[in-house]
Symmetry: C2
Subunit: 189 residues, 2 copies
Protein backbone atom coordinates (compact mmCIF):
# COMPACT_ATOMS: atom_id res chain seq x y z
CA UNK A 1 0.00 0.00 0.00
CA UNK A 2 1.68 3.17 -1.19
CA UNK A 3 1.37 6.02 1.23
CA UNK A 4 0.25 9.23 -0.37
CA UNK A 5 2.18 12.04 1.20
CA UNK A 6 0.53 15.39 1.38
CA UNK A 7 1.74 18.85 2.13
CA UNK A 8 -0.14 21.55 3.91
CA UNK A 9 -0.54 23.70 0.83
CA UNK A 10 -2.02 20.84 -1.17
CA UNK A 11 -5.02 20.79 1.12
CA UNK A 12 -5.75 24.48 1.15
CA UNK A 13 -7.34 24.68 -2.29
CA UNK A 14 -9.76 21.87 -1.46
CA UNK A 15 -10.44 23.40 1.93
CA UNK A 16 -11.22 26.73 0.28
CA UNK A 17 -13.67 25.21 -2.14
CA UNK A 18 -15.40 23.33 0.66
CA UNK A 19 -15.80 26.41 2.85
CA UNK A 20 -17.00 28.39 -0.15
CA UNK A 21 -19.68 25.87 -1.00
CA UNK A 22 -20.88 24.98 2.49
CA UNK A 23 -20.01 28.02 4.60
CA UNK A 24 -17.96 27.95 7.78
CA UNK A 25 -20.56 26.40 10.06
CA UNK A 26 -21.78 24.09 7.32
CA UNK A 27 -18.33 22.60 6.85
CA UNK A 28 -17.88 19.75 9.30
CA UNK A 29 -14.68 17.85 9.90
CA UNK A 30 -16.26 14.76 8.38
CA UNK A 31 -17.05 16.75 5.24
CA UNK A 32 -13.47 17.99 5.14
CA UNK A 33 -12.24 14.44 5.56
CA UNK A 34 -14.41 13.35 2.67
CA UNK A 35 -13.40 16.18 0.33
CA UNK A 36 -9.68 16.10 1.05
CA UNK A 37 -9.31 12.38 1.51
CA UNK A 38 -7.37 13.09 4.69
CA UNK A 39 -8.14 11.60 8.09
CA UNK A 40 -8.39 13.63 11.24
CA UNK A 41 -4.86 12.63 12.17
CA UNK A 42 -3.41 14.30 9.09
CA UNK A 43 -5.71 17.27 9.32
CA UNK A 44 -4.76 18.02 12.90
CA UNK A 45 -1.13 17.45 12.04
CA UNK A 46 -1.26 20.28 9.50
CA UNK A 47 -3.70 22.44 11.42
CA UNK A 48 -3.32 21.87 15.18
CA UNK A 49 -5.87 24.60 15.78
CA UNK A 50 -8.57 22.59 14.02
CA UNK A 51 -11.29 24.04 11.85
CA UNK A 52 -10.59 27.63 12.81
CA UNK A 53 -6.94 27.35 11.82
CA UNK A 54 -7.95 25.72 8.54
CA UNK A 55 -10.20 28.65 7.71
CA UNK A 56 -7.51 31.09 8.76
CA UNK A 57 -5.00 29.40 6.48
CA UNK A 58 -7.44 29.55 3.59
CA UNK A 59 -8.20 33.22 4.18
CA UNK A 60 -4.48 34.01 4.39
CA UNK A 61 -3.98 32.15 1.13
CA UNK A 62 -6.74 34.10 -0.56
CA UNK A 63 -5.42 37.39 0.78
CA UNK A 64 -2.00 36.57 -0.59
CA UNK A 65 -3.47 35.69 -3.97
CA UNK A 66 -5.37 38.95 -4.24
CA UNK A 67 -2.40 40.93 -3.04
CA UNK A 68 -0.17 39.32 -5.68
CA UNK A 69 -2.59 39.26 -8.60
CA UNK A 70 -4.91 42.19 -8.06
CA UNK A 71 -3.69 44.79 -5.57
CA UNK A 72 -0.05 44.77 -6.66
CA UNK A 73 -1.07 44.83 -10.31
CA UNK A 74 -3.21 47.87 -9.63
CA UNK A 75 -0.44 49.71 -7.83
CA UNK A 76 2.40 48.79 -10.12
CA UNK A 77 0.66 48.84 -13.48
CA UNK A 78 2.16 51.56 -15.63
CA UNK A 79 -1.10 52.35 -17.35
CA UNK A 80 -3.76 52.70 -14.64
CA UNK A 81 -6.64 52.37 -17.08
CA UNK A 82 -5.19 49.13 -18.35
CA UNK A 83 -4.57 47.95 -14.80
CA UNK A 84 -8.20 48.47 -13.89
CA UNK A 85 -9.30 46.63 -16.98
CA UNK A 86 -6.99 43.78 -16.03
CA UNK A 87 -8.51 43.74 -12.54
CA UNK A 88 -11.97 43.17 -13.95
CA UNK A 89 -10.69 40.39 -16.16
CA UNK A 90 -8.92 38.71 -13.23
CA UNK A 91 -11.99 39.02 -11.05
CA UNK A 92 -14.24 37.53 -13.71
CA UNK A 93 -11.90 34.61 -14.10
CA UNK A 94 -11.26 34.13 -10.37
CA UNK A 95 -14.97 33.95 -9.61
CA UNK A 96 -15.52 31.63 -12.57
CA UNK A 97 -17.85 33.96 -14.42
CA UNK A 98 -20.18 34.17 -11.45
CA UNK A 99 -20.27 30.48 -10.59
CA UNK A 100 -18.03 30.78 -7.56
CA UNK A 101 -18.67 32.76 -4.40
CA UNK A 102 -16.16 34.95 -2.59
CA UNK A 103 -15.13 33.22 0.63
CA UNK A 104 -14.58 36.59 2.30
CA UNK A 105 -18.19 37.47 1.55
CA UNK A 106 -19.37 34.04 2.66
CA UNK A 107 -17.65 34.44 6.01
CA UNK A 108 -18.83 38.03 6.38
CA UNK A 109 -22.42 36.86 5.93
CA UNK A 110 -22.04 34.01 8.42
CA UNK A 111 -22.14 33.75 12.17
CA UNK A 112 -18.37 33.32 12.17
CA UNK A 113 -17.73 36.85 10.89
CA UNK A 114 -16.40 38.18 14.18
CA UNK A 115 -13.89 35.37 14.48
CA UNK A 116 -12.28 36.48 11.22
CA UNK A 117 -12.92 40.19 11.46
CA UNK A 118 -9.29 41.13 10.99
CA UNK A 119 -8.91 39.19 7.75
CA UNK A 120 -12.19 40.51 6.34
CA UNK A 121 -11.38 44.08 7.22
CA UNK A 122 -7.90 43.84 5.74
CA UNK A 123 -9.06 42.32 2.50
CA UNK A 124 -11.74 44.87 1.76
CA UNK A 125 -9.75 47.82 3.06
CA UNK A 126 -6.77 46.94 0.88
CA UNK A 127 -8.87 46.42 -2.19
CA UNK A 128 -10.71 49.68 -1.75
CA UNK A 129 -7.52 51.60 -1.05
CA UNK A 130 -5.57 50.28 -4.01
CA UNK A 131 -8.46 50.65 -6.40
CA UNK A 132 -9.13 54.21 -5.26
CA UNK A 133 -5.48 55.15 -5.75
CA UNK A 134 -5.44 53.64 -9.21
CA UNK A 135 -8.67 55.38 -10.15
CA UNK A 136 -7.11 58.65 -9.15
CA UNK A 137 -4.04 57.90 -11.22
CA UNK A 138 -6.40 57.10 -14.08
CA UNK A 139 -7.84 60.56 -13.87
CA UNK A 140 -11.02 60.12 -11.86
CA UNK A 141 -12.02 63.15 -9.80
CA UNK A 142 -10.02 62.93 -6.59
CA UNK A 143 -13.03 63.63 -4.41
CA UNK A 144 -14.92 60.75 -5.90
CA UNK A 145 -12.56 57.89 -6.42
CA UNK A 146 -12.69 56.53 -2.89
CA UNK A 147 -16.48 56.31 -3.09
CA UNK A 148 -16.28 54.84 -6.57
CA UNK A 149 -13.86 52.19 -5.38
CA UNK A 150 -16.23 51.36 -2.54
CA UNK A 151 -19.09 51.04 -4.96
CA UNK A 152 -17.13 48.68 -7.19
CA UNK A 153 -15.72 46.44 -4.47
CA UNK A 154 -19.15 46.15 -2.89
CA UNK A 155 -20.79 45.74 -6.27
CA UNK A 156 -18.68 42.69 -6.99
CA UNK A 157 -19.79 41.01 -3.77
CA UNK A 158 -23.40 41.80 -4.45
CA UNK A 159 -23.21 40.56 -8.00
CA UNK A 160 -21.97 37.20 -6.77
CA UNK A 161 -24.87 36.89 -4.31
CA UNK A 162 -27.27 37.96 -7.01
CA UNK A 163 -25.93 35.56 -9.61
CA UNK A 164 -26.21 32.65 -7.23
CA UNK A 165 -29.70 33.60 -6.06
CA UNK A 166 -31.05 34.14 -9.56
CA UNK A 167 -29.31 30.94 -10.60
CA UNK A 168 -27.97 33.02 -13.45
CA UNK A 169 -24.17 33.27 -13.41
CA UNK A 170 -24.30 35.63 -16.39
CA UNK A 171 -25.77 38.30 -14.12
CA UNK A 172 -22.29 38.58 -12.61
CA UNK A 173 -20.73 39.44 -15.95
CA UNK A 174 -23.43 41.97 -16.71
CA UNK A 175 -22.93 43.84 -13.44
CA UNK A 176 -19.18 43.58 -13.83
CA UNK A 177 -19.19 45.26 -17.21
CA UNK A 178 -21.42 48.05 -15.91
CA UNK A 179 -19.02 48.63 -13.03
CA UNK A 180 -16.16 48.68 -15.46
CA UNK A 181 -17.95 51.25 -17.59
CA UNK A 182 -18.25 53.51 -14.56
CA UNK A 183 -14.48 53.69 -14.36
CA UNK A 184 -14.06 55.29 -17.74
CA UNK A 185 -16.61 58.04 -17.21
CA UNK A 186 -15.81 61.47 -15.85
CA UNK A 187 -12.15 61.59 -16.89
CA UNK A 188 -9.81 64.14 -15.39
CA UNK A 189 -10.68 67.71 -16.16
Amino acid sequence: MSRIVTERKDVIATLAETFREHGYDGTSLSLITEKTGLGKGSLYHFFPGGKEEMAEAVLADISAWFRAHIFDALREGEDPVEAIEAMFASVDSYFRQGRRLCLMGVIAASGAHDRFARELNGYFTDWRTELAATLERAGAPAAECSALAEEIVGGIQGALILARSLEDPAAFGRVLSRLKARCSMAPAS
Copy 2:
Protein backbone atom coordinates in the same frame (compact mmCIF):
# COMPACT_ATOMS: atom_id res chain seq x y z
CA MET B 1 -47.37 31.14 37.96
CA SER B 2 -48.85 32.92 34.97
CA ARG B 3 -48.43 31.05 31.76
CA ILE B 4 -47.22 33.21 28.90
CA VAL B 5 -49.09 32.23 25.78
CA THR B 6 -47.36 32.78 22.49
CA GLU B 7 -48.50 32.90 18.91
CA ARG B 8 -46.59 31.77 15.90
CA LYS B 9 -46.10 35.24 14.50
CA ASP B 10 -44.65 36.49 17.77
CA VAL B 11 -41.66 34.22 17.34
CA ILE B 12 -40.86 35.02 13.74
CA ALA B 13 -39.19 38.38 14.33
CA THR B 14 -36.84 36.90 16.93
CA LEU B 15 -36.21 33.92 14.70
CA ALA B 16 -35.34 36.26 11.82
CA GLU B 17 -32.86 38.24 13.87
CA THR B 18 -31.22 35.06 15.11
CA PHE B 19 -30.80 33.61 11.61
CA ARG B 20 -29.51 36.94 10.37
CA GLU B 21 -26.86 37.16 13.06
CA HIS B 22 -25.74 33.53 13.15
CA GLY B 23 -26.58 32.18 9.71
CA TYR B 24 -28.69 29.10 9.04
CA ASP B 25 -26.15 26.49 10.06
CA GLY B 26 -24.92 28.61 12.93
CA THR B 27 -28.39 28.80 14.44
CA SER B 28 -28.94 25.79 16.68
CA LEU B 29 -32.17 24.84 18.35
CA SER B 30 -30.65 25.60 21.72
CA LEU B 31 -29.75 29.10 20.51
CA ILE B 32 -33.30 29.54 19.27
CA THR B 33 -34.62 28.35 22.61
CA GLU B 34 -32.42 30.86 24.37
CA LYS B 35 -33.35 33.81 22.13
CA THR B 36 -37.08 33.13 21.98
CA GLY B 37 -37.51 31.84 25.50
CA LEU B 38 -39.51 28.94 24.07
CA GLY B 39 -38.80 25.28 24.73
CA LYS B 40 -38.49 22.71 22.01
CA GLY B 41 -42.05 21.58 22.65
CA SER B 42 -43.48 24.99 21.82
CA LEU B 43 -41.14 25.43 18.90
CA TYR B 44 -42.17 22.13 17.35
CA HIS B 45 -45.77 22.92 18.07
CA PHE B 46 -45.55 26.02 15.89
CA PHE B 47 -43.11 24.58 13.38
CA PRO B 48 -43.55 20.81 13.10
CA GLY B 49 -40.96 20.79 10.33
CA GLY B 50 -38.28 22.00 12.71
CA LYS B 51 -35.50 24.39 11.85
CA GLU B 52 -36.15 24.26 8.12
CA GLU B 53 -39.78 25.23 8.57
CA MET B 54 -38.75 28.05 10.89
CA ALA B 55 -36.44 29.47 8.26
CA GLU B 56 -39.10 29.06 5.60
CA ALA B 57 -41.60 30.94 7.73
CA VAL B 58 -39.11 33.74 8.27
CA LEU B 59 -38.29 33.97 4.58
CA ALA B 60 -41.99 34.02 3.71
CA ASP B 61 -42.49 36.80 6.24
CA ILE B 62 -39.65 38.82 4.76
CA SER B 63 -40.94 38.27 1.23
CA ALA B 64 -44.36 39.50 2.29
CA TRP B 65 -42.86 42.57 3.91
CA PHE B 66 -40.87 43.51 0.83
CA ARG B 67 -43.84 42.86 -1.40
CA ALA B 68 -46.04 45.09 0.71
CA HIS B 69 -43.59 47.89 1.46
CA ILE B 70 -41.22 47.96 -1.50
CA PHE B 71 -42.43 46.14 -4.59
CA ASP B 72 -46.06 47.28 -4.39
CA ALA B 73 -44.98 50.82 -3.62
CA LEU B 74 -42.79 50.80 -6.70
CA ARG B 75 -45.56 49.50 -8.93
CA GLU B 76 -48.38 51.60 -7.57
CA GLY B 77 -46.61 54.85 -6.85
CA GLU B 78 -48.01 57.58 -9.05
CA ASP B 79 -44.71 59.36 -9.37
CA PRO B 80 -42.09 56.76 -10.30
CA VAL B 81 -39.17 59.00 -9.37
CA GLU B 82 -40.65 59.54 -5.94
CA ALA B 83 -41.36 55.83 -5.60
CA ILE B 84 -37.73 54.99 -6.25
CA GLU B 85 -36.62 57.58 -3.77
CA ALA B 86 -38.99 56.05 -1.22
CA MET B 87 -37.52 52.62 -1.95
CA PHE B 88 -34.04 53.79 -1.05
CA ALA B 89 -35.35 55.35 2.15
CA SER B 90 -37.19 52.16 3.11
CA VAL B 91 -34.15 50.03 2.36
CA ASP B 92 -31.88 52.25 4.45
CA SER B 93 -34.27 52.03 7.35
CA TYR B 94 -34.98 48.29 6.97
CA PHE B 95 -31.29 47.45 7.02
CA ARG B 96 -30.73 49.81 9.95
CA GLN B 97 -28.32 52.11 8.14
CA GLY B 98 -26.05 49.20 7.29
CA ARG B 99 -26.02 47.53 10.70
CA ARG B 100 -28.33 44.70 9.70
CA LEU B 101 -27.69 42.04 7.07
CA CYS B 102 -30.19 40.81 4.50
CA LEU B 103 -31.31 37.31 5.46
CA MET B 104 -31.80 36.44 1.79
CA GLY B 105 -28.18 37.30 1.16
CA VAL B 106 -27.08 35.44 4.27
CA ILE B 107 -28.85 32.29 3.10
CA ALA B 108 -27.60 32.70 -0.46
CA ALA B 109 -24.02 32.82 0.83
CA SER B 110 -24.50 29.76 3.03
CA GLY B 111 -24.47 26.05 2.44
CA ALA B 112 -28.24 26.01 2.81
CA HIS B 113 -28.80 28.06 -0.34
CA ASP B 114 -30.15 25.18 -2.39
CA ARG B 115 -32.72 24.32 0.25
CA PHE B 116 -34.27 27.78 -0.12
CA ALA B 117 -33.54 28.35 -3.79
CA ARG B 118 -37.15 29.08 -4.65
CA GLU B 119 -37.51 31.83 -2.04
CA LEU B 120 -34.20 33.42 -2.97
CA ASN B 121 -34.93 33.38 -6.65
CA GLY B 122 -38.41 34.82 -6.16
CA TYR B 123 -37.22 37.64 -3.90
CA PHE B 124 -34.49 38.88 -6.21
CA THR B 125 -36.45 38.30 -9.39
CA ASP B 126 -39.42 40.28 -8.11
CA TRP B 127 -37.28 43.13 -6.87
CA ARG B 128 -35.37 43.38 -10.11
CA THR B 129 -38.54 43.19 -12.19
CA GLU B 130 -40.48 45.81 -10.26
CA LEU B 131 -37.55 48.18 -10.06
CA ALA B 132 -36.84 47.84 -13.77
CA ALA B 133 -40.44 48.60 -14.63
CA THR B 134 -40.46 51.64 -12.38
CA LEU B 135 -37.19 52.88 -13.82
CA GLU B 136 -38.69 52.66 -17.27
CA ARG B 137 -41.75 54.58 -16.12
CA ALA B 138 -39.36 57.14 -14.65
CA GLY B 139 -37.87 57.68 -18.06
CA ALA B 140 -34.73 55.55 -18.03
CA PRO B 141 -33.69 54.23 -21.44
CA ALA B 142 -35.76 51.08 -21.98
CA ALA B 143 -32.75 49.07 -23.10
CA GLU B 144 -30.91 49.83 -19.92
CA CYS B 145 -33.32 49.73 -17.05
CA SER B 146 -33.25 45.99 -16.51
CA ALA B 147 -29.47 46.07 -16.20
CA LEU B 148 -29.65 49.14 -14.00
CA ALA B 149 -32.13 47.42 -11.70
CA GLU B 150 -29.82 44.43 -11.51
CA GLU B 151 -26.92 46.66 -10.60
CA ILE B 152 -28.90 48.34 -7.84
CA VAL B 153 -30.39 45.21 -6.27
CA GLY B 154 -27.00 43.54 -6.31
CA GLY B 155 -25.30 46.70 -5.13
CA ILE B 156 -27.45 46.79 -2.02
CA GLN B 157 -26.42 43.25 -1.09
CA GLY B 158 -22.80 44.01 -1.68
CA ALA B 159 -22.95 47.20 0.33
CA LEU B 160 -24.28 45.28 3.32
CA ILE B 161 -21.42 42.77 3.12
CA LEU B 162 -18.95 45.58 2.71
CA ALA B 163 -20.30 47.62 5.61
CA ARG B 164 -20.10 44.64 7.93
CA SER B 165 -16.63 43.65 6.78
CA LEU B 166 -15.22 47.15 7.07
CA GLU B 167 -17.01 47.50 10.40
CA ASP B 168 -18.25 50.76 8.98
CA PRO B 169 -22.05 50.83 8.67
CA ALA B 170 -21.82 54.25 7.04
CA ALA B 171 -20.35 52.61 3.94
CA PHE B 172 -23.84 51.27 3.29
CA GLY B 173 -25.34 54.74 3.18
CA ARG B 174 -22.57 56.01 0.93
CA VAL B 175 -23.09 53.24 -1.63
CA LEU B 176 -26.83 53.62 -1.35
CA SER B 177 -26.75 57.31 -2.24
CA ARG B 178 -24.48 56.60 -5.21
CA LEU B 179 -26.92 53.98 -6.46
CA LYS B 180 -29.77 56.41 -6.00
CA ALA B 181 -27.88 59.02 -7.98
CA ARG B 182 -27.59 56.57 -10.86
CA CYS B 183 -31.35 56.49 -11.15
CA SER B 184 -31.73 60.17 -11.90
CA MET B 185 -29.16 60.22 -14.69
CA ALA B 186 -29.96 59.67 -18.32
CA PRO B 187 -33.59 60.85 -18.19
CA ALA B 188 -35.96 60.13 -21.05
CA SER B 189 -34.93 61.60 -24.34
